[in-house]
Subunit: 151 residues, 2 copies
DNA sequence: GCGATTCAGTTGCGTTTTGCAACCATAGGC
DNA sequence: GCCTATGGTTGCAAAACGCAACTGAATCGC
């Protein structure tokens, strides 16, 4: 999907959504963060149709969120691994997950823990350069305009 | 869109994506954060078809991300305003935007500034309870499983 | 070496979602 | 009453999606 209409958009969020903004793409990235690397494992974990998975993996590789790495004896098998850019989506995933947990308390999410200490993670929040916690209304956002014919 | 398949998923990210995980929904929320409230203004700002906009707004209202507020003389006109839950997506939007800015340096995003001080915002990052900055690999993520037949 | 199996796709086809445009319905101006 | 603006709804074509069946290469069993 992703109707590439806003490819040329100057809006950073629009461009981000162009790369990982459809349902499956972020779920694939999430699975990759869980350690999934093989085509068939993604397929099983997500219950996604193979053609869609193919398409999404290709798109994620194209956008350098994943890298397709040949593996195995004659390079016949391969894996999809997160690139640094892909790993950097971690913040986004954590933000989404924390949002979900805050507003769907019924969720029995196992929670995320620091590997070293076993402690839960801190909640993400937007803060100013001097450390004050900020709400949307405390921030000046300039549209940067979603359409090309900005005006 | 959003094939409600994973509605019953225990995966927090999946449920979040169910509510705001399609292309337009997050763009609408973003516009709302910019201060857009009226149907026609969303339509103009995004260049979205009216039926889709209708559908997305209704879904966002249903999920309590936006609230439809009657306004004007006889309540004929109305506005869509962010609820607290919607405003709380700010972290997600900022995370996405910062990610995009980091990996698309060509982007001339005007940047986001603290209204009080005029300073740019801090970069979001995931941190442990004792403040160490964490990468994906420093965190224990439990799948919580994307499929219902969890096992 | 030969068939069976696994993995990673691709192809076909029918269903669902999009997106565009054109059409209602109500309110207000004049 | 006629015109415009706002906020939708409807119809239809095109694209995306999901399923299942098929391909093609590599590996396994023997």
């Amino acid at each position: 999907m992703v109707r590439k209409r806003l490819d040329d958009s100057h809006c950073a969020v629009a461009r981000a959504l162009n790369e990982v903004g459809d349902w499956w793409s972020l779920m694939i990235v999430l699975q990759a963060m869980y350690g999934v690397r093989r085509f068939s494992d993604f397929q099983q974990a997500l219950g996604i149709a193979k053609n869609i998975l193919c398409d999404r993996l290709a798109r994620l590789v194209e956008h350098q969120v994943l890298a397709k790495v040949a593996v195995g004896e004659q390079g016949s098998r391969h894996e999809y691994r997160l690139t640094p850019k892909g790993r950097d989506l971690f913040t986004v995933v954590v933000a989404l997950r924390q949002w979900s947990d805050r507003w769907h308390p019924d969720s029995r999410s196992p929670g995320m823990h620091d590997r070293a200490e076993g402690q839960p993670l801190q909640e993400l929040y937007v803060s100013s350069s001097d450390g004050r916690r900020l709400d949307v209304r405390d921030v000046i956002l300039q549209p940067a305009d979603a359409r090309k014919d900005t005006a």
